[in-house]
Amino acid sequence: MTTPAPGTPAPDTTAAPGGEPRDGGPSPGARVLGWARRIVLSTPVLAIGGALVLTTLVMLAVGVDPSLAYPALLRGALADGNLEYTIAAFVPTLGMALAFAIPLRACEFNLGGDGQMAIGGVTAAAIALHLPMVAGVAVVLPLAAAALAGGLVAGLSAPLRTRLGIPAIVTTLLISTPAVAFASYLVRFPLGEQGTGIAQTPPLPDATHLPALAGSSYVTIGLPLIALLTVAWLYADSRTVLGYEIRATGQNRDFARYGGVAVNRLAAVTLAGGGAFAGLVGALIVLGPPYRYVDGALTAPGYTFTAVAAVLLATARPIAVPFAVALLTVLQVGGQGMEREAGVPSQLTQIVQGLIIVIVAVFATVRHLRARRGAGA
């Protein structure tokens, strides 16, 4: 206003680079554009899209034809003979996703899934081997005991968090390694199969085998069980007082405490609840084919961290968790098919997964910084 308007649009001297005045009026077409933008720019869409673009670039760089690799990946996961494996991997991954997601609702991070799962699995194996089993309920007891054991392992982190102030993200992770090692010891020595030299338990009695679903040799009743528990969790999260209090605790601990919520107890409950799911997954693996605890078989597929990635991808929307798990499981199982068919190392799918996490994390950070800036105003 007070500065004389320069006759020419040419920048005077040094001044500001590209500093022409922007007129901020929103045009009518912009609204439709903005609407479309919100969907396309949502974190999951961008994360998956970005990861696929980068992966494609990697493929091209190493001389792999993406038009062969991607169909091979999909066939590897979803073709007739392979779908069974994908579902068999989906069940433990979904279980582990809940192990991470349940405490996350209260803003507690459970990264100790491996340890909780191993202890759960070894507990199930020990009970199946050494307690006399009544047919019919024989699978129930090891499953319940495994959930309890996993819950206890995760629950250890709760007093460390509430009394000593050590974040659960640290303690769960630190407890996990010795827990896996302890399970490994049990399988090698007290519970191990004598004379084979392989670190595994003897085969479990038939009565304790999880019944397979009709027409399948790999998919057990673990699938409906986990599906049912997932639905129960989704319901509890949105429609119960407990779920409300957990969410409030996660959103603002002081607010929940102010509202009379026993936040420390809730933190313990969610951690133990998450651990129980991990323990249950351990039991589902052990009581399914090949019906024994084989050392390393529980942790080697990396269910725990695939599940963490899936939950992060779901950006804390509970209903999205099963879908994110399905997507990542397809990637993972399909990767092996891709390796067989197109000669692409299956590690490439881990790159995709890693990229997804990185992109989600970048978005979360940016959003956080923006929110802080907004709040500072």
Binding site: M1, T2, T3, A16, G19, P21, R22, D23, G24, Y235, A236, S238, R239, T240, V241, G243, Y244, E245, R247, A248, Q251, N252, D254, F255, A256, R257, Y258, G259, G260, A262, R373, G374, A375, G376, A377
Partner: protein, 542 residues
């Protein structure tokens, strides 16, 4: 109502905002605002909460980029992409919440980020000298070697101002600077600001206290709903004119009437007996506090921030973490207060974002907190019924006239006044025997203030016992039947609502009370020797 000319008489304004427009989503926070600050003037910016003051200042300080409009400095157009740009252009900001390092000394805090360097190391002597020189020049005395964490709030604020001046600020922006000060400290602050402007610097004072504007400001710009609704010279204007520009209408009479039937005989609904609390480090926070609140009575708590109000209220609501050397009792009727959160006590916390709400949860879910386990209308057959929770929330929204697009919006999207009304609605609707309210109208616009005061008076008239803590003395005087003054963890004086003047309260808040008050608690008077300085009082052990 003389509208001031834009000051084009002699020179260009020190800082000028031209046609600034800033939009946050659907909210038009600033709508074509023009504001010119002349050299050497104290220019006040007033407006209700949500009027756009903070946004405007953020634009001037480089925190927000405007959607339209620009900033001139000494008549030249400047680009502000960050506070660093603003500082480079001689703009300095003193935030409402100080951004100081309590562990560092005054000198270290002042030079932080622009340290004088001597042979590659920070030149501490030069830093101290710089602070002393600046202090001398502007009458801002502060011991350069003192650790900031040990200083009173008023001095910390001086350190903030020194820091801005050290960075070469010629336009100082102060955001609600007196909200943490005693009346005496506030007076001293304005003396300092006068010295600063006498050197040719300018001050932009964001405030909602009209009395300050009229006594300390030269000119005023009034904002309402993102627009300028008035420009005044303070010399020729009155508070009533400012209020009208702020809220677009005139206010009703001076607040709710005090209870006439003071229930002098009734038993205490809330009683605190000889309460002493210490924090985790064993430092005494409350020493021998005793008082009671009867049903149908509002008792106010005054005091400089950090005098023990927070600890007292945490103890009364049952939220405090017990310390190692605690003693005394908090009684609700006959029973001791329940730890965790006593359901018999409604509580409106000062920290609306940190404690009173979860900003990302919906309004309905925020209105439920505290009642979620009480069997009632919000439960369905299988737990929490969403429809019932919403219906309950809609009922509260209507009864307390909270304006929100729906009960499903996150409460963080509501304006300060409406969020506060939501918290009040939640707590008052519970009809508990005792209500504790901290800063009932902080960050709330003038219109909503009236309504909130009326709600508290209604609660009192229903026979609830109300304890109000506020840093607004006028608010306490308008509301309270009795006012207790806290200083360094003690109740040092008690006044009846009628006899409490700002001068008396202000004096008591500094610890220099004379005990010449009718109802002063006996245990408070021995420490409060006439003429005793605050420092002397702080020395004696609990």
């Amino acid at each position: 109502m003389s509208v001031a000319a834009t000051g084009d008489g002699s020179a260009a304004p020190a800082a000028e905002l031209v046609g600034v427009t800033k939009r946050f989503g659907p909210v038009l926070a600033n709508d074509g605002i023009d504001l010119a600050v002349a050299r050497g003037e104290i220019h006040a910016v007033v407006g209700e909460n949500g009027a756009g003051k903070s946004t405007l200042m953020s634009v001037l300080y480089g925190l927000h980029r405007p959607d339209a409009g620009h900033v001139l400095r000494d008549g030249k157009r400047i680009r502000l992409r960050s506070p660093a740009d603003a500082i480079a252009h001689g703009l300095g900001m003193v935030h409402q919440r100080f951004r100081l390092f309590p562990e560092l000394t005054v000198a270290e805090n002042v030079v932080l980020g622009a340290e004088p360097v001597h042979r590659g190391a920070v030149d501490r002597a030069a830093a101290r000298r710089a602070v002393e020189e600046l202090g001398e020049r502007y009458g801002l005395r502060a011991d350069p070697a003192a650790q900031v964490g040990t200083l009173p709030v008023g001095v910390r604020q001086r350190v903030e101002i020194l820091r801005a001046l050290y960075r070469g600020a010629e336009v100082l922006i102060l955001d609600e600077p007196t909200s943490v000060l005693t009346p005496g400290e506030a007076t001293r602050l304005f003396e300092v600001l006068r010295t600063v402007t006498a050197t040719g610097a300018s001050v932009l004072l964001v405030t909602h206290k009209l009395s300050e504007v009229l006594t300390a400001g030269d000119r005023v710009t009034v904002l309402r709903q993102g627009r300028v609704t008035g420009r005044f010279d303070t010399a020729g204007t009155t508070a009533a004119e400012l209020v009208q520009a702020m809220i677009g209408r005139t206010l009703g009479s001076a607040g709710p009437a005090r209870s006439t039937t003071g229930p002098r005989e009734a038993a205490y609904a809330l009683e605190v007996r000889d309460l002493s609390l210490s924090d985790r480090d064993g430092v005494a926070r409350l020493s021998g506090v005793s008082f009671g609140v009867r049903p149908g009575e509002i008792v106010g708590i005054a005091g400089v921030a950090g005098s023990g109000q927070r600890e007292l209220i945490d103890a009364v609501t049952g939220l405090n973490v017990p310390g190692p050397r605690d003693s005394g009792q908090v009684l609700l009727g006959d029973a001791p207060v329940r730890r965790g959160r006593d359901p018999e006590v409604a509580y409106v916390p000062e920290d609306r974002h940190g404690r009173g709400t979860a900003s990302e949860m919906s309004l309905a879910e925020n209105l439920l907190m505290g009642d979620q386990r009480r069997p009632g209308s919000h439960t369905g057959r299988l737990g929490l019924s969403r429809a019932a929770v919403r219906a309950r929330a809609r009922d509260l929204v209507e009864r307390f006239s909270i304006s929100a697009a729906s009960v499903d919006v996150p409460i963080g999207a509501l304006s300060g006044g409406n969020a506060q009304k939501a918290v009040l609605a939640r707590e008052l609707s519970r009809r508990t025997p005792v209500i504790v309210v901290e800063e009932p109208t902080q960050g709330v616009d003038v219109g909503a203030q009236e309504r909130i005061h009326a709600l508290l008076a209604e609660a009192r008239d229903r026979g609830q016992a109300v304890l109000v803590q506020s840093s607004e003395l006028s608010e306490l005087r308008a509301l309270s039947d009795r006012i207790l003054v806290m200083f360094e963890g003690r109740v040092v004086a008690e006044f009846s609502g009628d006899e409490a003047t700002e001068a008396l309260l202000g004096q008591a808040m500094t610890g220099a009370t004379t005990g010449a008050t009718t109802g002063a608690t006996p245990e408070a008077t021995p420490e409060a020797t006439p003429g005793a300085t605050p420092v002397a009082t702080s020395g004696d052990p609990a």
